[in-house]
Symmetry: C2
């Protein structure tokens, strides 16, 4: 096991009817900004629940945070935050709304510098507004971590940043708020959760049997519940279990003391930025090809994963491990998520060229051993 530091102070308030506990969690003296997206919370009743719970609070609303939240939109919110002297941000929506809110919290306190540097240069965040969330989409795990991913429309870029200063103070997770989600978003969330785990688990052996099994706990549960999540209407139990899996997949715990990959996410972000495919879709396309490319490095972990999650035994290690990669791709497809660029109308040659060129300028290799250079990413994308 590697040395590690772990600290996650987010207060999780989980379950039916928990939005009504907002007054116990937010000071009455706060001047709040309620940040949300395109209006789905108005259609599913969440907006009403939040407003009712916070009756009597000073609230400024900011709507319009888009999927893959845009730097430009967030900066509009920052302007209002400063003008109105907002002192607490409440994100109400999915991971995009929350990620946008994290950036608003950091950018509003960034001082005189250009907040874009937080994303483009990893500039240090020395202060941030306190923020919290009512999360309505199980997928990103943003409700219990200190990371966010932000896109810039003008440059067609997508970057992540992280700082302990943007941990939500609390996150309310009421699984009932997911009842109205379209099937496509649920499927994307299942893939996202699954791949979050795989990025921290299918690397190479670090003698971490507990972390391995904690990772497998989430994978096995996702495989077990995915059909109910997608096909049962208003099924509290499967939605509750999905929500808790999504949160646990990216709150840092399973990554303690083990190598982490994240190449699939990095390449996926580029696909989303350039071609607009959903985040979950991009992961389903890229992951199997990253595994094939890093086959020798990952083989033993792929075999362990295949055996413990899908019950795949096998004498011939190479053949079995290749079969497990196919099974993983098939699993994404059974969720209704396509796994080939061509199926999304994207030319793999075009993507390989564009993305490898972009990565060259950034000069940061990808993968658990920093082993993937732009030329490697090019080859991976040609196979996508």
């Amino acid at each position: 096991m590697q040395n590690f530091v772990y600290c996650n102070p987010v207060k999780i308030v989980f379950g039916k009817g928990t939005i009504s506990s907002l007054p116990d969690l937010v000071s009455k003296n706060s001047k709040l900004m309620m940040v949300y997206g395109g209006g789905s919370i108005k259609r599913n009743g969440v907006y009403e629940q939040v407003k009712k719970a916070l009756k009597g609070y000073k609230i400024v609303e900011f709507s319009g945070i888009e999927p893959n939240p845009a730097y430009e939109t967030c900066m509009e919110a920052v302007k209002i935050v400063k003008e109105q002297k907002i002192d607490f941000l409440l994100a109400v929506g999915g991971g995009s709304v929350l990620d946008g809110t994290k950036f608003i919290a950091a950018a509003a306190k960034f001082g005189d510098g250009d907040p874009w540097k937080i994303l483009s240069e990893g500039a240090e965040i020395k202060s941030a507004l306190p923020l919290a969330s009512v999360i309505t989409l199980p997928a990103t795990g943003s409700e219990m971590n200190s990371y966010a991913v932000i896109s810039r429309k003008s440059t067609v870029e997508k970057f992540s940043f992280g700082s302990w200063r943007v941990f939500p103070v609390f996150s309310i997770i009421d699984p009932e708020t997911t009842y109205t989600l379209p099937k496509k978003q649920l499927a994307n969330g299942l893939v996202d959760t699954f791949v979050h785990v795989l990025e921290q688990y299918v690397t190479f052996n670090m003698n971490s049997p507990l972390q391995d099994r904690q990772a497998e706990s989430i994978l096995n549960t996702i495989v077990e519940i995915s059909d109910d999540v997608l096909n049962k209407t208003n099924d509290y139990e499967s939605r509750a279990n999905f929500c808790w899996c999504a949160t646990q997949a990216l709150n840092g715990l399973i990554g303690c003391g083990v190598p982490q990959d994240w190449a699939t996410h990095s390449i996926g972000h580029e696909l989303t930025a350039l071609y607009g495919i959903d985040h979950g879709e991009s992961l389903a396309v890229v992951l199997p090809r990253v595994w094939e490319y890093n086959f020798e490095l990952k083989k033993e972990k792929i075999l362990q994963y295949g055996k413990r999650i899908f019950g795949i035994p096998g004498e011939d290690k190479d053949k079995t491990a290749m079969g497990i990669i196919n099974t993983t791709e098939d699993f994404f497809r059974t969720l209704g998520i396509k796994t080939k660029l061509l199926e999304y109308g994207i030319d793999s040659k075009n993507a390989a060229e564009k993305i490898s060129t972009r990565l060259k300028s950034r000069n940061t290799p990808l993968g658990e051993n920093d082993q993937l250079f732009p030329e490697d990413v090019k080859k991976i994308l040609l196979n996508c």
Copy 2:
């Protein structure tokens, strides 16, 4: 799944050589009390490491916290804390030292009332000194939770208390500090960790597949590593994995949204208070008999546990579940921990009488459904 609130802000600093990071974690302006036990940290080099790391700090030492830390001893420390205006407590040792430190932290700020009320009446803790730990014994999980168990010599009682105000600010876990532990303490720690998980897992079905598997992650790992933990000298990997299992077993995570039992611990505390047997020993004696007594309630979970941890299949549910209870008892015995009161020279009739009488005066039923009354505990103990 039941509704729940989860928050655990403890910063874990894990790994080889991490004691040297103390200056990054404790303010130079603090006036520290370093709390420790009978002196084992002087023999194994931990004392020296801490003192070296904190060179130049104002430190008052308080030694002599005993296994099953005594209220009387802690109150001596409280006196010094007040006299010397100590503002930060650093526990260096095992769970007993840390539990004692948690009580000192709360009692020092309890105001004019009698701090014993924190234990006997569950009096609210409105303030506490900040505290942290260098933990040297994997067992209690105290390094990442807000609970403590304290004994009173004068009344031969043992009570627990909890408050978010006594979460350690940080805990340093360096697995190398466990190399000098006697085999008996390691075995007790393995049993304690295992039973912490079982108390939160072997209850009744609450449709919590992720929490179940997270619990099983710890159990499977303990079964897998226990032989190496007990028999390999200076084996970093098995000790590191044991340490992380012990921490994860009682940091609240696996108990999220599920029923919890804790009858074995409550009865075990009485056995330790009255007869002085080790905490781990008391658990190994009581747990199998609690399960037999609550057989119908726990049967389905016992079957799941037996299948997933020990690979025990079975057509006949009753016979299989009884066999799994025996396997669990056998597992404790293979660790070298006896499972019968008689083997500790304790008369079960005497224990049954004394403990059931004590519980009558407390008027709090035990078990996951508050189903165990003093008369039930009497019957359980007669079978121990």
